[in-house]
Structure formats: C-alpha cells, structure tokens
Amino acid sequence: MAVEYQPRMVGFLCNWCSYAGADMAGTSRMTYPPNIRIIRVPCSGRVDPLLVMKSFEQGADGVLVSGCHPGDCHYTEGNYHARRRFALLRSLLDFLGIEKERLRVEWVSASEGGRFKELVSSFTEELQRLGPRSEVSP
C-alpha cells in the first residue's frame, strides 16, 4: 500500500488565543495529524505576507495563520488587519502558481482545543486532496 502523502504545514499562531487553543488541544490529549509546525507570534497582525511566502519557499505545502476571533483580539484589532492582508495575498497566490487553498486564515480562541484539532485535520485532508505542490518557476 502506498504511504499516504503527508503535507507539511506551518502554523503562525497568536500568543493570546490560538497558541493557547493549540495548548488546550494538547492538555486535553486530542490527537491530530502531526504535520503542522507551530510558530508563536504576538498577534496574527504580526504575520507579514513575506513570512507566509518564506514558508512556501522553504517547502511548506500549507500555511495556517490563526488569531483571536474577530472582536476578541488582545491588541484590539490586529486580527482585522491580518484578515484584510491575507484576503489580498490569497488572491495573489493563484497568480504565483500556488493554490489559494494552501493558505488558511482562521480564528481559534484559547478554549477551542477541539476547534484547533478539527482545523488541522481538515486542512491536512484538503492538502492531501491538492497533492504535492507543483514547482514554482522563479
């Protein structure tokens, strides 16, 4: 049997909600696909499109940016800036030859361990469906 294709994901999680949400998934011993690598940032608003592109350049198959729910940002409005910024970046990804589904922007609160688990699972499935990334011409 062929080994199932295992996509590699980078997750930029805000310190206040989503990182704590991922911790909650751990504390509650919820298992999810092991392919995500989490990077802690102060706020989803800190995530520069450059960091997302760097992740793709380094071979990531998918990138997750996750912050506090709209309205709940620890810094009041950083997640709104992230939302707008990545709506724009997503629309450019196709142009760059990267399916826009490979970038996800989500909201996970500190208590939503279950939601984080579901998110990683569904993202992994979607990336498996998309298959390995096609070569991007420089």
Partner: protein
C-alpha cells in the same frame, strides 16, 4: 571565546512520561547536539524542578552559555520559570527560547516516530531562532496603588474589604442600585444554616462606610485602557433621578409613590414601588427612579415623591454622568445569571402557578421576603407536598454540560427549611448527590434522617393531567426511579426547580471590555485551571466568583481573598516591568508613508514633522507587531519577533 560567539545550551525535558513516553529523548538530544552553535544538549526528567534548573545554572557558569533553549511544555506554562533561571545566572531573559514538545507534540501525536520528528523540528526552530535573539533592556514603571473592582456581590465585597483594610484605595463599581449580589437574596446558607443577610449585611455596611472604598453603585464601566499598573477607567454613573448628596435615605418617597411593579429582587414573587431601593438594607441606601415605569416620565404628571421629599433630593432632570479613575489592577467579579427554565417546557415553569425556581423559593422562604417567610401556594394556602427537581439545565447536553455545584446543597437546605416551617412531604428528585464541601456530606446525612424522600432519577415531565383520583388538583411529576427501575408518578402541590447557574448574558461584551477570554461554558477563562485560578491572560486583571465558573460562597470568598492578595503583592512591590518586546522604527529607513500610524491600535506612533519619520512611543507600544508586518520599507522591527528571527524559525521547522 569571543564576545560575539553564540554558545547555546539545549535542555530536553522528559516531563516524567508525558514527553518521554512518546518522544525518543535520546534521538532528540543527540540531534540537538548536532545543531550549529549548540555547545551542550542534555536531557532531564523534570527540567522545571530544582535539580533541572540547577543543571542550566551550572552549565551557564561552567560552559559560558549565552543562550538557552528548553524543550518541554508550553511557554505559557514555564517560560517565566526558565527566564528567571537564566536571568539569575546572568543571561538576559530574551536570550531564552522554549520548544513546546509536550502540548504541541507528545500530547497530540500517537505515532512515536512522528512525535520525535516533530520534536526535532521544533528544537531546530528554537535553536535557529535563538541565534538571532538579542538581549533587551527591562524597564520598570510605578504601579498605581488604586484598584477597581467590578461587581458588588460577595466576591467583590470580600476583595474590596481585604484590599481596603490593607490601606489601599478601592473603587467598587456595581451595576445595580445596591451591592449584595445574589447572596443578599438568599434565605439561609448551607450547610450551617446561618442567615445570609446576617452574615452579609455587616460586610455591606463596612463597604459603604470604609474610608478606603469609594462605592460607585448603579454604575457601569464604559471603557478601560492602559496596562497593568496603569489603567484608565471610564465609568458611567446612571441617573438615579435622586441627588445622592441630598438624600438621607428616609424612605418617605418609596412610601408615598403610588405605583407598583414586580420586584426584580424578589424575582417576581413580590412587588416594589417605582421609586425604590431593592431591599431595606440596601447599600448605598439611596433610591432609584425606575424611568421605564415612572408615571411622571411616561405621562408627565405625578411627582408624588418630589412633593414629599423634605430635602429636595428628587431630580427629574438628572442625566448619566461620566467619571474617570486611574487604577493599577482590576478585579472582575460580575457574578452569574440564574437560568430561565421556561425553555424546558416539560417542567411547566411559567405555565403552572406553583412551579418556582430556587431563587424564587429563597425569596419566599426569607423572613424579609414578600410572604414574610411563609411557604405558600399562589392561592395563599400551605402546600402539603413539595418536590425539588435537581439539575435543571445543568448536566444536560441540551442546556449546560457542567454541574452548577450548589444545587444539591441548596436543595437539601430547602428541604430542611420546608420541614422546619410546614408539615409538607418533601421529595428530592436527583441524578447524583454531590456534597463535596466541608460539612456537606454530614448535612446530607442529617437530611436523610429528617424524613425527606430521595428519588434517584431525572424528571421527564411535570403535568396536571390526572390519571388517579388522588392526583386531582396536584402537579404530577413523572420520573423513572432508577433505583426501583420503574416509572413512578409523584403528585405534589409545589415544584421547585434547581436552575443552572449560567454565565451573564453580557459576558461576551464584558470579556471584550476587559480583554478576557471565555471558556467553552461561557464563563471567564482563568490563566491556568489549577495553578493560577484568579489571574487572566491580561496582566493586572483578575476574575473571582461565579463569573469564572459556578461555585459556592466559601469558594467564592477564598477566590476573592486570593485575588486581593495578588493585587496587594503588586501594590506592595510598587513597580512593574513593562514588556521590552516592542516595536522600534529606524528613521534612516522610514519613508514617512505613515502606514504604521493608521494601523497602530494604541496610537503609539507619532509623526516627526521635521524629519518626516514615524516615532514609536515605548510606553504606549504593546508589541503586537502590526506595524512591523505592514511597513513597506521594513523600517520597523518588532523586537523579539523580528523578521530575521521568525524566518530562522521557519527554516528550522521545515528542515
């Protein structure tokens, strides 16, 4: 060794078997040893323990480490611990990095190979990142010694008195016209049966007269800004239409007001006047005009209260006023809502006269309540049988999954009070008896000897549909007695519903106001469920009492005192460190486009008109990094989260 040489030590924690059970520690440790600039990599059973910490201290001294990585649990758990260890040994706290191989690896991955690979990737990221980390200067600012307490129930009262008694100033903001919260509505308190008002009113009057407490009742917090040690709070004082300075609290206005409406305090069991204090022992003892129901406000005539007020305190022209206070810490003690059982249609609340909630029964049983403490049916007669249904809306997937923790005990208390005052038969319809506190189990035993009938089962229906002759005129409970294994019908005169304690309906807005998180049950989330149950993710903001989760009076008081102690610790220290991981702008790179100024949520960036560059105010910046991500000339650096550092981390996780 040169001054610039990076000498990194990596420490891998087994966390007992929490990590070592899934992650191959030896493989990870030798991998860490192979990474660039790593001088030493060691593993230990519990890195956070004394010997674990000592291991790091020794290596810093003996091997001249200038950067430390610990691969263990979440940084939200132990980053402060290890930062302290580093700092004590002369390594700046920002030259420490954690790799979260427990919450993000060993606990969420079943496959040992995968977990080990993930741990390696996270360590490689931490090591690559720390290479670029820089020491940051820690600055301190003075702490404002005043404290804001939001909510004047027993939680807020207790915390206010503890803090005020120590000599610090407290602003106690209460939304209702009087402090006292739910506790002042109760009759007796379990398991000791002391009267709730008797133990609470002295504390209330202490609050009212305490020289260090400014009681701001009938008011709400509108806005809060700032950070631990230095918050600015805007408070709305709602119009009472009574001049607080002039009012003597004589009560003549209430006596003369000709209009009555159902009393919120008596939960609809009794009535109150339109100008009122919720109850006679109200603190402050100043009435409020209920504008919605006041005939003068509705029709333009009456003003009876004004005519009789000898001191001229009635002021129909009064408007909401705003006040600003500055505090160093905030305790949120906003309490709970009693669940409205109407949606549980099968219990007939609102449909049958003699189906009451627990809190309504408290008012009825209270000697100061609307019936003078008489337990009576709607028609005024004395009930011959009463059933108490437990877990109404609690431990029920359709409503609240959690246990409300107080119902078993107050149901037992009700049984005792009913037995004391009437000859009625009492039935307890319970799922499990949860009598976990000090003296609680003993109280349960005492009640089993008082002739109370216990039926183990969840009531499926309360109905007036008669089958047998003896059920006529009664409310019939249909319940499966799980100990008998059969469905039984219990005819009674009165039904008391032990309704769930639930989060306040506006908990979400309040959470937003104070930058709190909500847990899945809707209550405010504490910083750590076990080790930090009063602090929150926002420094300087604490949660106490039922706003954090259902709890009884002793637990609430203990939590309130704990929060007070935490606040006093901050006050007595007198100063607080401010986050050094903030943004800085490089004026040589800044193009003066002002993008950052528009984005900054704290208005921390100003524009230097002379040099045409942005400047970031260190005291106002919170380090969110939004400006750094948006700056088109890369002129802004988010300290400790620099692009270089995060890029290195990306390379590390994707090795």
């Amino acid at each position: 060794m040169s001054m610039d040489e990076k000498r990194i030590g990596v420490y891998i924690c087994h966390c007992g078997t929490n990590i070592a059970g899934t992650v191959d520690i030896d493989a990870v440790t030798s991998y860490a040893r192979s990474l660039d600039s790593v001088v030493v990599a060691k593993d230990y059973r519990f890195m956070c323990s004394d010997p674990g910490q000592e291991l790091i201290r020794q290596d810093i001294k003996e091997l001249g480490l200038n950067r430390v990585v610990v691969a263990s649990c979440s940084p939200l758990m132990h980053e402060p611990t290890f930062r302290r260890v580093c700092e004590e040994t002369g390594v700046n706290r920002y030259l420490f990095q954690m790799a979260n191989i427990r919450e993000h690896a060993s606990w969420v991955t079943e496959d040992k190979g995968e977990a080990t690979e993930k741990a390696k990737a996270l360590i490689s990221a931490a090591v690559r990142r720390i290479f670029y980390q820089e020491p940051l200067e820690i600055k301190e600012v003075p702490v404002n010694p005043n404290t804001l307490i939001v909510g004047g129930g027993i939680a807020g009262i207790q915390a206010a008195l503890e803090i005020a008694d120590s000599g610090s100033r407290v602003y106690l903001v209460e939304r209702e016209p009087s402090i006292g919260g739910h506790m002042i509505q109760l009759d007796k308190t379990f398991p000791t049966l002391d009267c709730s008002a008797c133990i609470l009113t002295p504390k209330m009057s202490d609050v009212g007269s305490h020289p260090n407490i400014e009681l701001i009742a009938y008011s709400e917090v509108e806005e809060i800004s700032g950070y631990v040690g230095n918050f600015k709070v805007k408070i709305r004082r709602k119009a009472r239409y009574v001049d607080e300075e002039k009012c003597t609290g004589c009560g003549i206005c209430q006596e003369k007001c000709p209009w009555k409406v159902p009393s919120e305090f008596d939960v609809g069991v009794g009535q109150r006047k339109v100008i009122y204090t919720p109850f006679p022992q109200a603190v402050p003892n100043i009435p409020v005009i209920d504008r919605e129901n006041c005939v003068y406000f509705k029709k333009g005539t009456c003003r009876a209260c004004e005519k009789f007020c000898e001191v001229g305190a009635i002021d129909f022209e009064q408007t909401d006023r705003f006040e600003e206070v500055e505090v160093g810490n905030v305790i949120v003690a906003t309490g709970y809502d009693v669940m409205d059982p109407s949606p549980i249609a099968e219990y007939g609340y609102g449909r049958y006269d003699n189906v009451l909630t627990g809190i309504q029964f408290e008012r009825m049983s209270n000697a100061a309540g609307p019936t003078g403490g008489n337990i009576q049916l709607k028609d005024g007669s004395t009930p011959e049988s009463i059933a108490i249904i437990h877990c109404v809306g609690s431990r029920d997937e359709n409503y609240h999954e959690y246990c409300s923790r107080v119902c078993c005990m107050y149901a037992l208390k009700f049984s005792h009070l009913i037995k004391e005052k009437t000859d009625a038969e009492v039935y307890q319809m319970y799922i499990d008896m949860r009598c976990f506190g000090k003296g609680y189990e003993e109280f349960y035993h005492r009640l089993t000897e008082e002739g109370v009938k216990f039926v183990r089962g969840k009531v499926s229906q309360v109905t007036d549909q008669v089958i047998e002759e003896e059920e006529k005129g009664k409310l019939i409970l249909v319940v499966e007695d799980t100990l008998l294994g059969s469905v039984i019908r219990v005819p009674v005169d009165m039904v008391i519903l032990c309704t769930a304690i639930e989060a306040r309906s506006d908990a979400e807005q309040v959470a937003r106001l104070f930058s709190l998180s909500l847990s899945a049950d809707g209550f405010f989330l504490e910083r750590h469920p076990k080790l930090d149950p009063v602090a929150t993710m926002t420094d300087g903001i604490y949660v106490v009492g039922c706003c954090q989760g259902s709890k009884d009076i002793p637990d609430t008081v203990a939590q309130a005192s704990a929060a007070a102690a935490r606040v006093l610790a901050v006050i007595s220290k007198g100063k607080i460190e401010i986050e050094a991981a903030i943004a800085v702008a490089d004026e040589e790179k800044c193009s003066g486009c002002k993008t950052c100024i528009l984005l900054c949520p704290y208005s921390a960036i100003s524009f230097d008109e002379e040099k045409k560059v942005s400047r970031i105010n260190e005291a106002l910046c919170k380090g969110c990094g939004v400006c750094a991500a948006a700056c088109p000339s890369a002129a802004i650096t988010a300290r400790h989260f620099t692009t270089e550092q995060i890029m290195a981390e990306i390379e590390g996780v994707l090795v």
